[in-house]
C-alpha cells in the first residue's frame, strides 16, 4: 500500500479520537464539488447533466472552506465536474493545504500540464493529483468518449511527477472489464511512477428491470479477485487494503455514507455521493435529519442492493482498520506481505 506514513498517522489518530468521543457517525473524506462543469462529456456521467445555468455556477472559495471547517474531515477529495476548470482552484488548494487537509484533486488531466506550467500549484505532502484513468488507452478513451485523452492524461501525470507532485490514479471498472488488460494497466501506471492507484466498481442504480449490465456484487467479487489475486509486488494502491479485500468478496461490510459526505452548489447531499435524494443546509443537519436506516444493504433499499463503491464502503474499511485489532492486524499483514 502506498499511503504516506504522515497521512496514515493523521487518519489513524483522527479515527481514534472519534472513537474516544463516542461519535457513531463521523466524516473521513469530504467530497467537495465546487462545480459540475466539465471539458469532457463521458456518456453515462451523471454529474454534468444539468441545465446551462446550473453548469455555469460554482461555489466560492469561502463557501468551500466553510464546508471544510464545518465537516472537519482530515481528507478532502475535489471531484467535479472538472476541478481544473474551477477559476479559483489554486487559491482553494492553497487554503486547504494551509489547514493541513490531505487533498485529492480528481482530474481528467486534460488541463493539468497547462495549469502546472501556469504555476497554480506547489508540491506538498498534502496535495495529490488523482487522475481519472479508466484502464488502458483504448478502454479509457472509449469510456471518456474522446480519442487522445489517455495520452493527454499520461502527459499531465509525467509533468506533475517531474515537478515533484504526488500523483495517484482513480479507476472505475465496469461490466466487461478484462482482468488481464487491467493488470497490464496497473503495470503501466507503476512504470509511469504514480504513487498509488485507487479502484472502484462502476455502479449505477436503475429502476429498469434490465439490470444485466451493472456490476452486481457477485460479478464484482469475481472481477476483483481475478484481477487482484497474486498482485505484483510493485503494484501500489492508495486505498484501504480491507476495502480491496471487500471488493474481492473477503469481507461483508455495511455502507457508511456519512464517511464520505458530499457538498456542492445545492448543499449537503443526502445520503451519499451516488444518490441524490435531497440536500441539507448544514453538515449537522445532514447527520441529524438523514434517515440513514433507509440506506445500505440491511435496509433492503433496492438502490443500495449491489453497491460496493468506495464512497460508501472505504470509510467502513478504514474504521475497521483503526477500530478493531482484527482489522488492524489484517491491514498490517497485507501491507507487509503485499498479498491481498
Amino acid at each position: 500500500m502506498s499511503v504516506p506514513a504522515s497521512q496514515m498517522w493523521t487518519v489513524a489518530t483522527y479515527v481514534l479520537r472519534q472513537k474516544l468521543r463516542g461519535r457513531p457517525r463521523y466524516p473521513l473524506v469530504l467530497m467537495l464539488e465546487p462545480l459540475f462543469r466539465c471539458n469532457l462529456a463521458c456518456s453515462g456521467c451523471g454529474k454534468i447533466q444539468y441545465p446551462a445555468q446550473i453548469l455555469k455556477k460554482h461555489l466560492t472559495v469561502e463557501q468551500c472552506l466553510k464546508a471544510v471547517d464545518e465537516c472537519g474531515a482530515p481528507m478532502v477529495s475535489i471531484p467535479g465536474g472538472e476541478p481544473l476548470m474551477y477559476p479559483d482552484i489554486g487559491r482553494l488548494v492553497e487554503a486547504l493545504v494551509a489547514r493541513g487537509k490531505y487533498v485529492y484533486l480528481c482530474t481528467n488531466a486534460i488541463l493539468l500540464r497547462e495549469k502546472l506550467e501556469a504555476g497554480l500549484f506547489r508540491p506538498s505532502k498534502y496535495l495529490s493529483f488523482s487522475v481519472h484513468m479508466d484502464g488502458p488507452r483504448e478502454e479509457h478513451d472509449a469510456a471518456v468518449c474522446r480519442d487522445g485523452v489517455y495520452d493527454q492524461a499520461v502527459e499531465g501525470i509525467r509533468e506533475a511527477l517531474r515537478r515533484g507532485f504526488r500523483v495517484t490514479t482513480n479507476t472505475t471498472l465496469f461490466e466487461g472489464a478484462n482482468p488481464l488488460r487491467v493488470r497490464e494497466f496497473f503495470d503501466a501506471m507503476m512504470d509511469l511512477g504514480v504513487e498509488g492507484m485507487m479502484l472502484s466498481p462502476g455502479y449505477s442504480y436503475s429502476k429498469a428491470p434490465d439490470q444485466v449490465h451493472f456490476l452486481r456484487k457477485s460479478r464484482t467479487h469475481e472481477l476483483f479477485s481475478t484481477m487482484l489475486s497474486n498482485p505484483a509486488r510493485r503494484w501500489k494502491f492508495n486505498q484501504s487494503p480491507l476495502f480491496l479485500r471487500f471488493l474481492m468478496g473477503e469481507h461483508d461490510y455495511e455502507c457508511t455514507p456519512w464517511g464520505n459526505p458530499t457538498y456542492n452548489i445545492f448543499g449537503w447531499q443526502r445520503p451519499c455521493y451516488l444518490l441524490q435524494e435531497g440536500y441539507a443546509e448544514t453538515f449537522q443537519e445532514l447527520l441529524e435529519t438523514t434517515r440513514w436506516e433507509e440506506y445500505g444493504k440491511k435496509s433492503g433499499n433496492e438502490k443500495c442492493r449491489d453497491c460496493m463503491v468506495h464512497c460508501g464502503f472505504e470509510a467502513t474499511a478504514v474504521n475497521e482498520t483503526f477500530g478493531s485489532w482484527r482489522g488492524f492486524r489484517e491491514t498490517v499483514a497485507v501491507t507487509v506481505t503485499g498479498k491481498l
Binding site: 456518456s43 453515462g44 451523471g46 447533466q49 441545465p51 445555468q53 455556477k57 465496469f174 434490465d210 449490465h213
Partner: protein, 117 residues
C-alpha cells in the same frame, strides 16, 4: 446517475386525486432539466428544482431560476403544479443507454478498421 430512458419533457401534469402534488414534485425533483412552477396565485417561476423536503413541518422545494439566481424556497402550499418545460439533459444519457451504445459500437467494426483491411 439517472437510469430513465423515457423522458417527462413537455409533460404538463394536472394535479388531482389520482396525481397528488407531492408526486409531481418528486418527479420534478428527479428531472434533470428546467421546469415551470405554477403557483396558486397564478404566477410562474421557471428554473431548476434541486431539492424538496416533503417531511419538513412546512414542506418546500428549493430552486435556482433560469438565470441561475437563488436558491429560492417555495412551500408546497403555494404550488398548484409543475410543468416539465425545459430540455431533459439526462434523456438518452443513462448508464444503460451508454452500455447499449457501447455494445453496438463493439458489434459494428469501426470504419477505419474496415479501411485498414
Amino acid at each position: 446517475m439517472s437510469e430513465r430512458d423515457e423522458t417527462l419533457e413537455g409533460w404538463e401534469p394536472e394535479v388531482g386525486p389520482d396525481l397528488p402534488l407531492a408526486r409531481v414534485i418528486d418527479l420534478a425533483f428527479d428531472y434533470r432539466g428546467n421546469t415551470t412552477v405554477i403557483k396558486t396565485d397564478g404566477s410562474e417561476v421557471h428554473g431548476y428544482i434541486f431539492n424538496r423536503n416533503a417531511g419538513a413541518p412546512e414542506p418546500f422545494i428549493q430552486m435556482f431560476d433560469a438565470a441561475g439566481a437563488g436558491p429560492f424556497r417555495i412551500p408546497y402550499a403555494q404550488i398548484r403544479t409543475v410543468r416539465f418545460t425545459g430540455k431533459d439533459t439526462a434523456a438518452g444519457n443513462s448508464y444503460a443507454a451508454w452500455l447499449r451504445r457501447k455494445e453496438k459500437e463493439q458489434a459494428e467494426p469501426k470504419a477505419h478498421d474496415s479501411e485498414a483491411r
